[in-house]
């Protein structure tokens, strides 16, 4: 579904991404881990068209998409959710989802019709149910709880009917219980929509439990890639990231 080849990017002389080549098969669930400043979010920005790589190829759905704008990437089916939920604070949950669906249906320019459009309704109901936000549909986005905000952020991305969904730290800033509930939900969405999903995550318990594959970045380069079990045993990863005293390295989860 998505492959990147020899991706390069530097900002003012600092190499943020060095020669990254990775593959994400259709329907896979992949985690990207790495220490802070490893270039994980930059990697998302590069493949979603927000910034243009200096060199390299991004092949999405069989086509080289380097240099395409983020707008075009969304329209081709690559959606993303953000580390800090990126919402429309003054819109209600329903309004936000409806507006997103309307945008996806290319009806944003409808000046003569009234909002909401009839053809968006079924899709919005479906999304509300999928997210479990039905009871909170009329609440203003900014008044949602942190978890629900993250969920709505993902819901907005899902409204794009994406082929590939990028999630930047879906459990960031949550307590342990909430984290598990969240990742369960994400996992459920992945199964229900048979998406290709890529997520950045710091919580190794979650990564090792849910990801099918794990890619480790360090200083903008790929340090390791493999199954969770392989990564857990990888000495490079332990040295650079996990550390020997990490309880996970000892297999206690």
């Amino acid at each position: 579904m998505l492959t990147v080849e020899n991706l390069q990017k530097s900002f003012g002389g600092v190499q943020a991404t060095r020669d990254v080549s990775l593959a994400f098969p259709a329907g896979s669930l992949t985690a990207i881990i790495g220490p802070n400043g490893a270039g994980k979010t930059t990697f998302f920005n590069l493949i979603s068209g927000q910034i243009r790589p200096d060199a390299g190829r991004v092949v999405f759905d069989g086509e080289d998409v380097v240099g395409r704008s983020s707008l075009e990437m969304v329209r081709r089916g690559m959606a993303r959710a953000f580390q800090v939920a990126s919402l429309f604070p003054s819109l209600t949950v329903r309004e936000a989802l409806t507006a997103a669906v309307t945008a996806h249906q290319r009806r944003s320019w409808s000046l003569l019709a009234r909002f909401p459009l009839g053809q968006s309704r079924a899709r919005v109901e479906e999304l509300l149910e999928l997210l479990g936000l039905g009871a909170k549909a009329e609440l203003v986005s900014s008044s949602l709880s942190h978890g629900d905000q993250k969920l709505l952020d993902i819901g907005l991305a899902l409204a794009m009917d994406p082929k590939v969904l990028l999630l930047d730290e879906p459990t960031a800033g949550m307590g342990p219980d909430e984290r598990w509930r969240m990742i369960e939900k994400v996992h459920h969405l992945w199964q229900a929509k048979s998406l290709t999903m890529i997520f950045i995550e710091h919580d190794m318990d979650i990564v090792f439990k849910y990801a099918q594959a794990v890619h480790v970045l360090k200083y903008g380069a790929v340090l390791a890639q493999g199954t969770p079990a392989e990564i857990r045993r990888n000495q490079d990863v332990i040295d650079a990231y996990l550390g020997t005293d990490h309880h996970l390295a000892e297999g206690a989860a």
Partner: protein
């Protein structure tokens, strides 16, 4: 939503009837003059609020399109070749073109830089009006009055007819803007206002949408300019000066940016204030300044927004603790903890 449309049309009709009835009930020319002023500046403020309140684009240069409407219309009428409706259409169309060209450059900039460049273009247009004396009459404006030849049996030379015409145009423009406000287009603009980057990631072409509303707001402002030109029978460079933009901004802040009719309320209040303050004192700057401070620092938002928030609070207080309050708590906990 058919129902919403019908309701708005109905309310528009009632508003129009009221506007037409007022001068008939109180047949005094100064009331009519006053209302035409409110109509022209209210329309200008409403059109600006499409940018400020709906899209989050703070334009400092909106008066440029007000002036463009007035001048194009006035010049065409003084040329004597076309009728009033044709000149109006041409003025609106010409202004749309102008807004398209300027907007194409401006909407790419963000926040304060957008404000500055709109201001710069306005100063540029103002200086063109001042220096192109042969066409515009320079600082003295379009001299000699704007003829108002009758068309379709309507004689705008008659003050009552002129007022009725302005009221009809006003209500029609309000209905157009209401439709924009309630359309999918309008809701997409709200997305852009709240979070343009996110809107972009949801497949919204932010730059083109902004340009679209910029042109729309420009055309609506030009209608306001035409009304003003018809009324004062002239066009003046001050129409395109930054102070006119500043007044429009003050009107929307005074009335409120989030309630649809807020800017009209603001225009009404400001005209009322101006009217009485200039009568009772020659230190109207002092008085107006103090009023502005009282509103900005006291209410902290426009009166219509304030009233809406107050009503919402009362309703919330009357009802048993609603879900939003409960839902808000964890969010704040997180933000804080």
């Amino acid at each position: 939503m058919r129902a919403g449309l019908m309701r708005d049309l109905g309310l528009g009709l009632i508003g129009l009837v009221l506007l037409l009835a007022l001068p008939a009930l109180f047949p005094h020319p100064s009331l009519r003059d006053f209302l035409i002023y409110v109509i022209a500046y209210g329309l200008l403020a409403m059109s600006l609020n499409l940018l400020v309140g709906l899209t989050g684009l703070v334009s400092f240069g909106h008066a440029a399109y007000f002036a463009s409407g007035a001048y194009v219309f006035g010049l065409l009428m003084q040329g004597g070749a076309v009728s009033i409706p044709v000149a109006m259409l041409a003025a609106v169309g010409g202004t749309a073109l102008l807004a398209l060209v300027i907007g194409a450059i401006c909407v790419r900039l963000k926040e304060i830089y957008f404000s500055f460049i709109t201001l710069a273009f306005q100063m540029f247009i103002h200086s063109i009006i001042l220096t192109w004396v042969d066409l515009t009459g320079g600082d003295q404006g379009l001299r000699g009055g704007i003829p108002r030849p009758p068309f379709l049996g309507i004689d705008l030379g008659d003050a009552g007819t002129l007022y009725a015409f302005c009221a009809v145009v006003f209500v029609a423009c309000l209905l157009v803007m209401r439709q924009v406000w309630q359309s999918p287009f309008g809701y997409t603009l709200r997305m852009i206002r709240d979070n343009p980057a996110r809107a972009n990631f949801l497949g919204v072409d932010v730059v083109r949408m902004k340009l679209g509303v910029f042109v729309l707001a420009g055309t609506m402002a030009s209608v306001a300019g035409i009304i003003m030109a018809l009324f004062v029978s002239g066009a003046f460079p001050e129409f395109g000066f930054w102070t006119t933009s500043g007044e429009a901004i003050f009107m929307i802040m005074l009335g409120g940016t989030q309630v649809f009719l807020g800017p009209v309320i603001g225009a009404f209040l400001l005209q009322l204030l101006n009217h009485y303050v200039t009568i009772w004192t020659h230190h109207h700057g002092l008085v107006l300044g103090i009023v502005i401070l009282a509103i900005v620092l006291g209410l902290r938002r426009g009166v219509a927004d304030y009233a809406m928030a107050w009503l919402a609070d009362r309703r919330a207080a009357a009802a048993p603790p609603a879900t939003p309050a409960k839902a808000a708590a964890p969010a704040e906990t997180k933000a804080a903890g």
